[in-house]
């Protein structure tokens, strides 16, 4: 069935970024997480970064599995603790790019406090949040991103709590790069991830992604492909839209685009500046290149 090829063609671009022996992965048919990984691999290729100097840190959840599938230095932390681990990594190895790849529950519920403080400090982390609107791995419970009226395992009559508007929250906390796309927008997501990887400071991309098994099914929204068509139909690109106006609803418009791109001094810069000022000649530790 596979096409036979009689001309030499390059292989799949994503393959060198994968621990191929672990594929097929555990994600369900029609889950969007793998699609985001394609965009991420291409973004890394675009930046031509030395892959020995890129690390991926995940929390727990379906999205957290990304750390186990990418062939980069990676760490699968405990639930909610991707950002504190990544912060420590970045502080001890400022020379490497630290990417946090995790789910909406991991980053905004149990890990919410870490997230806002990393944004406040403008620590140079690149955060990719795959938002499937629920806690997927544990069975589809209501989470902080679940839109009102959505049916979940813990909200059989529909969620009644207001959800976080992620871009607004991280912008208010101090993030210096904020964008939102869906898994339908693969080209735009690749571009945005490329831009984020070259941005200095706390950067955040929300990617709306189908969870056919637990979110779409309970809400009678079809399968993964139906979710993709839904994103296509409902999305509006509005770069620079005020983040206060772009909260997600169950069935309404999905505003996508880049909302924030600003420069603020980052944590390491501020720390060094102060130490240099106070210690003068005695301050010698400019970056800490350790080991190998």
């Amino acid at each position: 069935m596979a096409t036979t090829i009689d001309v030499p063609v390059p292989g799949n671009l994503v393959e060198p970024f994968l621990r191929s022996e672990r594929i097929p992965h555990i994600w369900c048919p029609g889950c969007g997480i793998g699609t985001t990984v394609n965009c991420f691999a291409r973004a890394l290729l675009n930046t031509k970064k030395d892959l020995r100097k890129v690390a991926v840190v995940s929390g727990i959840g379906c999205t957290g599995r990304v750390a186990g599938y990418v062939k980069l230095d990676s760490f699968h932390t405990t639930h909610g603790r991707a950002i504190p681990f990544a912060t420590g990594l970045k502080l001890s190895r400022p020379d490497i790019d630290v990417v946090v790849y995790s789910g909406d529950g991991d980053l905004f519920a149990i890990g919410g406090n870490h997230l806002i403080h990393a944004a406040r400090r403008n620590i140079n982390l690149k955060v990719i949040c795959v938002n499937n609107l629920i806690y997927a791995m544990t069975g589809g419970q209501t989470g902080p991103a679940t839109p009102e009226d959505a049916i979940t395992a813990t909200a059989p009559f529909g969620a009644y709590e207001p959800a976080f508007n992620m871009p607004q929250l991280v912008e208010a906390a101090g993030a210096s790069y904020v964008a939102r796309w869906t898994t339908y927008h693969v080209k735009q997501l690749e571009r945005s991830m490329t831009e984020m990887l070259s941005h200095d400071g706390f950067s955040f991309i929300e990617v709306l992604s189908p969870c056919p098994t637990l979110y779409q099914r309970r809400n009678k929204m079809g399968d993964g492909l139906d979710a993709m068509k839904f994103y296509k139909e409902k999305s509006k690109v509005r770069h620079g839209a005020p983040t206060s106006e772009i909260g997600l609803t169950r069935d309404g418009e999905i505003v996508v685009g880049k909302f924030v791109d600003r420069q603020r001094p980052d944590y390491v810069e501020l720390m060094r500046r102060q130490l240099r000022e106070h210690l003068g000649e005695r301050f010698i530790n400019d970056g800490v290149p350790t080991c190998c």
């Binding site: 063609v9 799949n12 394609n38 898994t183 080209k187 068509k229």
Partner: protein, 81 residues
């Protein structure tokens, strides 16, 4: 002659249909055959139309398909707007 060629790793496929839906030149269709896990992978129905844009490769959540330009051309710039 086609400008591109698409390669499918049948055993990785979970039959989501993203590649079939989003191929801009409609090169693919889901096959009626099964892979060993019981999914229907895509097959090529219009090989001559493949531009090698690799949009199938970008969409495929299972890393099971990719397109490439024949004769080492640059990666495609097909767009999903």
């Amino acid at each position: 002659m086609a400008k591109g060629v698409v390669t499918i790793t049948v055993e990785r496929c979970k039959g989501c249909g993203f590649c079939v839906e989003f191929c801009p030149t409609r090169v693919l269709a889901l096959s009626s055959a099964f892979n060993s896990k019981g999914y229907h992978p895509p097959h090529v129905v219009a090989a001559e139309k493949c531009s090698g844009c690799d949009l199938c490769g970008m969409y495929c959540p299972d890393f099971a398909i990719y397109g490439a330009r024949i004769n080492g051309g640059a990666r495609g710039d097909a767009h999903a707007e």
